[in-house]
């Protein structure tokens, strides 16, 4: 499949549910997760997606997130 028509993956992190354990940062081969400088209601510096365009949809982050906070949509 050529680059233009390939499926695009849109990862997102639920700010409220994230507990900033850092597992997604560790397992992501494209290193698209970074901690935010803000805190959520639970008191954690929740994880944000910084470079979501490079996501390959490998789902490792979804499988390892202990708070079911990561979702990946396909376009």
């Amino acid at each position: 499949m050529d680059k233009k028509n390939r499926i695009k993956f849109r990862p997102s992190v639920n700010e409220t549910n994230c507990k900033a354990c850092g597992y997604c940062q560790e397992c992501c081969p494209k290193k698209i997760f970074e901690p935010s400088d803000k805190f959520n209601a639970q008191g954690y510096q929740y994880i944000t997606v910084v470079n979501g365009d490079t996501c390959t949809g490998c789902l490792q982050c979804v499988m390892i997130c202990p708070d079911l906070a990561i979702s990946i949509k396909e376009e």
Partner: protein
């Protein structure tokens, strides 16, 4: 969405999950819900029976039928549920306290009886909810709140116990590999007879920090290093002493389950009594 998310079985209004940052319970919960979705289980056909402890709280987040039972006795209630209605998919959620320590005897007999249950034992090596006391699965020499100089006892091999007791399916996986964990749960749910999945899970608040794993990620790295397939385990010199453990499918048999044997015995009696 092309991949199973399991979100239809998740009680979203109960989020965020109560467990600590990096706890393996959430990973196991997610893997289990995705397994339900892959098998297209209907919510009213599934009964989740849970015991007491951090993992025992998992039924709060699941939209299927749930039964929250007393400590160590989840398997006994589940046996009753399955015997009363063999059509149900009965999943038993236990921690190492429930499954191996307080309810250890029930585990042996559920496996011996070969009840068609799927037990998911999340082993975090200590009693997390009550302050990190050592349990029957705490490895020797590990530090816990009741063994401050190291555990004098040896840890239990839950999978070995279930295998010896006659379980039809036994597998061990770590939460570091969520995709494989989901695969094992799917296999276990599809298996007739007693199936057990032991999930090696990090206790990031109590067990890890006391045992030189200060951050949650240290425990995941430890699991990735120490959890090895059986072939590699056998090649390693001093594998047990170095803390390695076998992951993967350990037992896969097709011995008739309790409900099938019970029906065949009942039909024999009915034949003798003249078909009544």
């Amino acid at each position: 969405m092309s991949h199973a998310t399991g979100l239809e079985y998740l009680r979203k209004e109960a989020l965020p999950l109560m467990w600590c940052s990096g706890c393996g319970n959430g990973i196991t919960l997610g893997a289990m819900l995705r397994a339900f979705e892959e098998l297209r289980y209907k919510k009213n056909e599934v009964v989740v029976v849970s015991g007491i402890g951090c993992w025992g709280k998992a039924d709060d987040y699941i939209m299927t039928n749930a039964l929250h039972t007393t400590h160590g006795r989840a398997l006994t209630y589940a046996t009753g549920v399955k015997a009363a209605n063999p059509e149900l998919h009965v999943v038993v959620l236990m921690g190492d306290g429930d499954g191996a320590t307080i309810g250890g005897n029930h585990l042996i007999h559920a496996a011996r009886r070969n009840m068609d249950l799927t037990a998911i034992i999340v082993n975090n090596f200590n009693y997390g909810m009550t302050g990190g006391q050592f349990s029957a699965t705490t490895p020797a020499a590990s530090i816990t709140s009741t063994s401050i100089a190291g555990n004098p006892e040896r840890g239990f091999d839950i999978c070995g116990l279930a295998e010896a007791a006659g379980a039809n399916y036994v597998a061990r996986e770590t939460v570091a590999n969520g995709a494989m964990l989901k695969k094992r749960i799917v296999e276990a749910l599809g298996k007739k007879g007693f199936s057990l999945v032991e999930v090696i899970s990090p206790c990031t608040t109590l067990f890890g920090p006391r045992n030189k794993m200060k951050q949650p990620i240290d425990m995941i790295r430890w699991m990735k290093e120490k959890g090895v397939p059986r072939a590699k385990y056998e090649q390693l010199a001093n594998a047990e002493a170095d803390g390695y453990f076998v992951t993967g499918k350990l037992v896969d048999k097709d011995y008739p389950d309790f409900c099938a044997s019970y029906e065949s015995m009942r039909s024999r009696i009915n034949v003798r009594a003249g078909g009544k």
